[in-house]
């Protein structure tokens, strides 16, 4: 919950445009869900797909037996496994981009081939990597005819050197040893490529309000690449802002000190106080957490890995109804002047309602499939994303008009001078 949209959303409520909110990255290698109480789905580093092979059993019977704990991944013979990324994308195999890998895992699980009790998991298997590394290690050590167990031992050492931390983390969370049993993974929400709209100077449409790093939309387009969020924070902070903010500040040099008793400050304080009081005064019967979970479920089901117009329309209505229910029936314990984490959370969730609705509105506007945004209506016969560069080569920058009014869309056309806009094939 401490990772939230509050600062950006409050700016957006005061007129800063929110850009590309529907572009959400779903990361393929997360530890699958184990129950309703779960607070997060831990992400395992992407690097695992360098050596791990992603698969599910070919038959639903095998998958069922695994789900029921009657078999493990190791019991499934090679010929009964479907290495679906390698099969569908022979050129890139397990290294296809995140959105493609995620959707493929969803397709496999939707077909009843999932391998966790919830039905929502695929295998990420290191057995081949362990044996391959073991063999080359044995070779480089000059061992002749090492047995399988020696090769495995050496291979596990190499894998431990490369991924030891991640394997340890996996074992801590799941209690399973990934050196012996294939890991189970499932996609989970990871990153929002969208954010506050900024110009090349990283200034929003509100003069003097600069947005740098992850909170702006500027670098990632429809699908972020690995490690580039950190890169963006560094690049914006070290290399861009120092050159651009000075321009703004130079014009402000004679601006006198603000008076904290100015009307703007007093009004804002009053607004804030009223908003907080409104929440604790509802005194309803449902916890903040329960609303957060229900909202999350709506977003995941209708605005997640794949979306369609009907679902999105339905989701928008559901969000509006849930938000009304929230202000009618939420229970926030404690007072507004206490250290009150529940009150804090209530405000974050209130922001999520508004942002969530905007994500849906944006997804509905974008009648194409593009990066992390996959609209079921727009796919090729083989189920791949179909972009529409003719009509949708623009950044959607949304202007907030009030919580019960439709936001207004501003389009920033994407103009390419040195490169040609193309769709990449991973086949």
């Amino acid at each position: 919950m401490n990772c939230n949209v509050t600062a950006a959303w409050r700016a957006s409520r005061r007129g800063a445009y929110m850009a590309n909110p529907c572009f959400t990255q779903i990361h393929p290698t997360c530890i699958p869900q184990s129950g309703d109480y779960q607070s997060k789905l831990t992400l395992m580093s992407e690097s695992l797909r360098n050596d791990g092979r992603v698969w599910v059993p070919k038959s639903q019977e095998d998958a069922k037996a695994i789900r029921e704990g009657k078999k493990t991944g190791n019991d499934i013979k090679e010929e009964n496994r479907d290495y679906f990324l390698e099969r569908r994308y022979p050129a890139f195999g397990n290294l296809v981009p995140r959105d493609v890998a995620s959707r493929a895992a969803k397709v496999a699980c939707d077909e009843g081939l999932g391998v966790a009790p919830t039905g929502l998991a695929v295998f990420l298997d290191f057995q081949d990597a362990i044996m391959r590394y073991g063999k080359s290690k044995a070779h480089s050590m000059g061992l002749h005819n090492p047995g399988d167990s020696k090769i495995r031992e050496l291979g596990e050492q190499v894998v431990e050197e490369k991924y030891g931390n991640l394997f340890e983390m996996y074992e801590k969370i799941t209690g399973e040893n990934p050196y012996k049993l294939p890991m189970k993974i499932y996609p989970a929400v990871h990153y929002t490529m969208g954010g506050l709209w900024v110009d090349y100077n990283l200034e929003t449409n509100i003069p003097g309000l600069f947005a740098i790093g992850e909170c702006n939309f500027s670098d990632h387009g429809a699908n972020r690449l690995g490690a580039s969020a950190l890169m963006q924070g560094l690049a914006d902070g070290y290399f861009v802002l120092p050159y651009t903010i000075g321009q703004f500040l130079s014009q402000e040099i004679r601006t006198p000190k603000f008076d904290p008793d100015a009307k703007e400050f007093l009004d804002t304080e009053k607004d804030t106080r009223e908003r907080l009081e409104r929440m604790v005064n509802v005194k309803g019967n449902q916890s903040v957490e329960s609303f957060h979970r229900r909202l999350g479920k709506i977003m995941w089901d209708y605005c997640g890995m794949s979306r369609n117009a009907d679902g999105l329309k339905k989701a928008r209505k559901m969000i509006q109804e849930l938000r009304e229910e929230f202000y009618r029936d939420v229970f926030v314990p404690g007072a507004i002047n206490d250290y009150n984490p529940e009150l804090e959370k209530a405000q974050r969730v209130a922001d999520f309602f508004e942002l969530g609705e905007l994500m849906v509105v944006d997804a509905l506007d974008r009648n194409e499939s593009c990066g992390g945004h996959f609209r079921e209506e727009y796919q090729s016969e083989e189920g791949e994303a179909l972009r529409n560069d003719e009509d949708y080569a623009y950044v959607s920058a949304w202007e907030y008009k009030g919580w019960d009014e439709d936001p207004v869309l501003h389009k920033e056309e994407l103009v390419f001078e040195n490169v040609e806009l193309k769709t990449r094939s991973y086949k």
């Binding site: 801590k172 229970f331 314990p333 250290y339």
Partner: protein, 250 residues
């Protein structure tokens, strides 16, 4: 599994606290904090005040979670933060005592949450390096030996959680400060402020009311990031050399 929790409840910094007993039904896949979430949801359903505890990343990288569990900061497992502790390490019928960190420099804010801003002020006193913004530096211009980089990295793994303070009978913050000093002292980037860093940080540490180090080394045992006490030796060296070399009075 059914568990009995004895949790420290305290309304505010100036109020008197006491243990309250709760029953909770947990399952082995839950993390410790998720078990507390479940308890809180039950309390909220009864219109009672939930237990305040701190958390953020829930994967052992931010240092926000804390708690002293059955007398041990971050619970029983080695190299594990509270948020990474799972209930499969407990069994049906267990009684678990959960307290906040106890240290004068970390006053209790509410229930299990303590104020660790003393650490922030120590960092502000010297836990930074100056860098030029503008153009990217040529990486090859600052060669660092691999071993040296690894030592610095190990020290940099400190997440600033404060368990070392909670573990120490003197409530000393030496392990934390030494990790922060070492991380920077071992790299060329840290040389600019080297002459004042250790002095300034130790001065702030003392001002915050942390105790002295008497080489108990309980800190190293409880540290979720397994920061080594050899960093404390390095801090002492840095302190000495900055005391000798310092030009500015700190």
């Amino acid at each position: 599994m059914k568990l009995t929790l004895k949790i420290w409840r305290q309304k505010g910094p100036k109020e008197k606290g006491r243990f309250e007993t709760y029953k909770v039904e947990a399952n082995p896949h839950m993390s410790f904090l998720e078990m507390l979430d479940v308890l809180n949801e039950e309390l909220i359903a009864k219109k009672e005040e939930p237990v305040t505890f701190e958390h953020d990343c829930r994967e052992g990288i931010c240092g926000t979670c804390s708690l002293v569990i059955n007398g041990q900061p971050h619970g029983p497992n080695k190299g594990t933060a509270t948020c990474q502790l799972h209930m499969r390490h407990y069994k049906d019928g267990d009684i678990i005592v959960i307290e906040p960190y106890r240290a004068a420099a970390f006053p209790v804010l509410k229930d299990l949450a303590v104020d660790r801003s003393a650490f922030d002020r120590i960092i502000q006193a010297g836990g930074y390096v100056s860098v030029n913004t503008g153009a990217a530096q040529d990486g090859n211009a600052i060669p660092i030996e691999k071993e040296q980089a690894a030592r610095s990295f190990d020290a940099a793994a400190c997440i600033g959680c404060g368990a070392c303070v909670a573990a120490c009978p003197n409530a000393s913050a030496m392990l934390f400060v030494s990790a922060k000093v070492s991380h920077l002292a071992l790299l060329p980037q840290g040389k600019v402020e080297a002459r004042r860093r250790a002095l300034a940080m130790v001065k702030q540490m003392d001002a915050e009311g942390f105790g002295m180090c008497s080489n108990v080394t309980a800190c190293e045992v409880e540290c979720p990031k397994e920061i080594s006490v050899t960093n404390i030796a390095r801090l002492n060296r840095e302190y000495l050399s900055s005391a000798v070399a310092s030009e500015t009075k700190v």
